[in-house]
Amino acid sequence: MASPTDDRNRRKRFEAELLPHLDALHRTALRLTRSPSDADDLVQDAVLKAYRFFDHYEDGTNFRAWLLKVLTNVFFSKYRRQTLDSQMRALGEGDPVADGWMGVATMAPNREPERLAEKALLEGSVLKALDELPEEFRAVLVLADVEGLTYREIADAVGCPIGTVMSRLHRARRAVATRLGLTSHEPAHKEKDNSDGGVLSLDAFRNRKKEAIG
């Protein structure tokens, strides 16, 4: 059994590790739940769970990624709305999202590719488009682009293969881009995606490239 001094030290270490990441936890919780009071509850549950499992955290790895993983887990097990099926239908794991629903005329003012990268998008409209995504896609996009986690860390956090992360990220960004009128072209891979369930594989791509190049 741990001595009281061990317990106090453990608590101190946890607090010291935790506090720098409160903002990250809170903003992620807010994006996932879309409700300030739910976000507070979610952060609290996630922090307590992380504290209980603190011994499982491996020193030297990314503590923020680990906290976000715990938070994402708690969110999907306790807080998600019970409409997964309809959400997945709405966006479709294997279906390019809402591609091309905007007319060319609507998009014309936005079609200056060389300026797009520099153009600071209105954060508000991006966040709004993000909030409209189904939870599975929202989670992946938030972890990637707001929190800057690697594909490996995201796969670990949401509990799916890297190929699924890539696929969801791609669809999530296409949905946001389309919503904001950022792209104009037709989807290049409509049918092919369906053939493998829309799950992308880095390895397959690398192998093909090796054959092609080498």
Binding site: P4, D7, R11, E15, L18, L19, L22, D23, L25, H26, R27, P36, S37, D40, D41, V43, Q44, D45, V47, L48, Y51, R52, K78, Y79, R111, P113, L116, A117, A120, L121, E123, V126, L127, L141, V142, A144, D145, V146, G148, Y151, M166, L169, H170, R173, V176, A177, L182, T183, S184, H185, P187, A188, H189, K192, L200, L202, F205, R206, K209, I213
Partner: protein, 273 residues
């Protein structure tokens, strides 16, 4: 253009720096020649940039930090209490279990304060309807922070954590069990949520600052009733019954998935420990 299909599939990974050098070179070469794929890559960068920028200026609410530290304190104390109780059990002395030899003070003493004839209050428009909020928190069945059927332990858990005294409720003449409790919110006020099983059904009792109560009168359809000859209000949200009342400066909300008549019956049997 040749290579568009593959580029489109992997352009995200390329922008994210997740491709190995060979694959990255392929995408890079294609994007340099293909305006359409370049547009796609630019769109991804623009989204990434805007989302990364959204990090700035977001600060978690100040109350969150103190709330988390309080929850961690509670967790520490729980652990110590559990270890002590395990030791004590080992030595054979054991706790007196809840339900035995506990006498209550009937709710029938003086309900007074803001619940009597309070009119609408301005400024509550941003909050979700109170009943809805309470019903949702009852429905969600969140993890408990103190697992104890012993009212004094549960009361101790809240000591110093909330601005109101939290005294667990006992239900007279019906099989009822305190399952656990956690710190929660009602509207924007911190609250104690105590989870019970009454007659085999889940009942949550929320205790919070009564200044929140008038909001219920703004947005919710409430029916005034009398319980033990004291005023109370019954409402219905998301299929759950919620009974609101106030006693000695503490607001009580009893939420259950049973019909109003049954919930009121339970309420009438409630005694504060």
């Amino acid at each position: 253009m040749e290579g568009c299909d593959e580029t489109r599939r992997y352009v995200d990974a390329w922008v994210d720096g997740e491709l190995d050098p060979g694959a990255a070179l392929f995408v890079e070469t294609h994007v340099a020649r293909c305006a359409s794929c370049r547009e796609e890559a630019d769109a991804i960068r623009a989204i990434k940039g805007a989302l990364a920028a959204s990090r700035e200026g977001h600060a978690s609410p100040g109350s969150l930090r103190s709330r988390l530290l309080a929850a961690l304190d509670a967790e520490d104390q729980e652990k110590v209490a559990a270890e002590q109780s395990a030791r004590r059990r080992k030595h054979g002395s054991g706790f007196v279990l809840a339900g035995a030899a506990l006498t209550g003070l009937a709710l029938a003493t003086g309900w007074r304060g803001s619940i009597n004839g309070t009119g609408p209050v301005a400024g509550a428009a941003m909050m979700p309807p109170l009943l809805d909020d309470i019903a949702q928190r009852h429905a969600r069945n969140l993890p408990v922070e103190v697992t104890s059927s012993e009212p004094t332990q549960v009361a101790n858990f809240f000591t110093g954590r909330l601005d109101i005294p939290v005294r667990p409720v006992r239900f007279r003449g019906v099989s009822a069990r305190l399952v656990g409790a956690r710190i929660s919110n009602v509207s924007d006020s911190m609250a104690a949520a105590l989870y019970y099983e009454v007659g085999g059904r889940r009942v949550t009792v929320f205790m919070f600052d009564p200044s929140v109560l008038p909001r219920a009168f703004d947005t919710d359809a409430l029916q005034p009733v009398r319980v033990n000859n004291q005023p109370a209000y019954v409402g219905y949200a998301r299929g759950y019954t919620v009974v609101l009342s106030e006693q000695a400066g503490v607001a009580y909300a009893v939420a259950s998935d049973m019909p109003p008549a049954y919930t009121l019956e339970i309420m009438s049997r409630a005694e504060i420990q």
